[in-house]
């Protein structure tokens, strides 16, 4: 009797489970939006670079038309964004984000380098770059160089850029496709983090803040 009762319970349980699966499946098939709904949008954040990479000490030209080696940036955490001034959409937003990171950091922002590196050395002369970066913040640094040096440099960040053929008759209206991350280097010149376009500035500021504290501990 007991045995039979147990067997019956198991049978009922299995039957119940099967019915539940069928009902759930029917629900899903009748309400396809239910099936798609539960995928949450991930909060974008920074990506840690698993093996810190020391970025090479390339010599570029700064916004005052003076040679500047990337090694000169060491001693402070550095945020780097590649872009070009002709770019009307993603680049000014990235630059505006850098400015908001600096505002978020307050006084600590003075202990950080904010660097724009052009992917369009042909049109972005030092003078154009100076006007551009200073419009966002007087402390921002703008850099250019010859195309080969810049391509090698962005490649060190697993990135690339590629000049596109001009769409209109004007040969100077070309677009430059490029990877658009913000990179964070520590005071030793090691690449530590990358942030995809649209990462909340608070996330970036928090990482920079932590890096500043780390530098302070090292003395």
């Amino acid at each position: 009797m007991n045995m039979r009762s147990d067997g019956f319970k198991v049978f009922l349980g299995v039957l119940g489970g099967m019915v539940a699966i069928v009902v759930f499946g029917l629900l899903l098939s009748y309400a396809p939006e239910l099936a798609r709904a539960p995928v949450p949008t991930p909060t974008p954040g920074g990506v840690a670079i698993s093996r810190y990479r020391t970025i090479s000490n390339a010599t570029l030209t700064d916004h005052d038309n003076r040679p500047m080696s990337l090694g000169a940036l060491r001693g402070k955490p550095t945020l780097i964004a590649f872009g070009y001034t002709f770019c009307p959409d993603v680049c000014p937003l990235t630059m505006a984000d850098l400015r908001r990171v600096k505002r978020e950091l307050g006084e600590a922002g003075d202990r950080v380098n904010f660097v724009f590196i052009t992917v369009d050395p042909q049109r972005d002369t030092p003078e154009v770059i100076r006007r551009y970066v200073k419009a966002f913040d007087p402390a921002f640094i703008g850099l250019t160089g010859d195309e080969a040096t810049l391509k090698k440099l962005i490649y060190e960040f697993d990135g690339l850029f590629e000049k596109q053929p001009p769409q209109s008759g004007n040969p100077n209206s070309y677009i430059v496709a490029h990877t658009s991350f913000i990179y964070l280097l520590d005071a030793q010149g090691q690449w530590r983090m990358k942030y995809s376009f649209g990462t909340p500035v608070e996330v970036i500021a928090r990482d920079v803040q932590a890096m500043l504290q780390e530098s302070a501990r090292r003395g």
């Binding site: 001034t85 002709f86 770019c87 002369t125 003078e127 551009y132 690339l160 496709a177 490029h178």
Partner: protein
């Protein structure tokens, strides 16, 4: 007999099912009903004044002469809403704020951000809207003619496939 009737019923239903979606589109004298909101554009941050200087050759250095090759650009964003029961298409945008105005899309291609003109028009669905926003659809302003400071406004005119011509006031602001 019953089988035949069933077959006929199924065939009839299938016909109805197939025809149904097409009927409203064929019969409707539908119209788009376009409105625009939240139009804004990036500032140009003193870049235009600098560019003018080059163009007039008021400064002699070769660096500045080179810079005249470039142009100062901006982008405008907005929400285009269609309350009508027919879709429409944004075909072109005009205005005297820039030398060239195009509808563009930024998208990711081979891991890079790339911008392309939407040459065959941007579809605005019936009873729907399209948001022009950063890193997506935008109106590219190439060769901006005067410096755009936060708080400034300028006019654009949106030309739709339906023949509608819609003026828009765009406010310059920081993103």
């Amino acid at each position: 007999m019953i089988k035949k009737m069933l077959f006929a019923a199924v065939a009839g239903l299938t016909l109805v099912a197939c025809a149904a979606p097409a009927t409203p589109a064929q019969n409707s004298a539908g119209q788009s009903d376009i409105s625009i909101r939240d139009a804004w554009a990036h500032p140009t941050m003193g870049m235009v004044a600098a560019h003018e200087g080059h163009a007039h050759g008021s400064h002699g250095s070769s660096d500045k002469a080179d810079a005249a090759q470039s142009s100062v650009n901006s982008a405008a964003y907005m929400v285009i809403e269609n309350k009508g029961n027919a879709p429409d298409k944004l075909l072109s945008v005009s205005g005297d704020i820039a030398d060239m105005i195009q509808v563009h899309q930024t998208r990711e291609k081979d891991g890079m951000m790339v911008m392309e003109e939407i040459a065959d028009g941007l579809e605005i669905p019936a009873n729907g809207n399209v948001e022009l926003r950063p890193a997506s659809y935008h109106i590219m302003l190439m060769g901006v003619k005067r410096d755009l400071k936060p708080g400034d406004t300028f006019k654009l005119t949106l030309n739709f496939q339906s023949g509608k011509v819609i003026p828009v006031d765009v406010t310059v602001r920081e993103p």
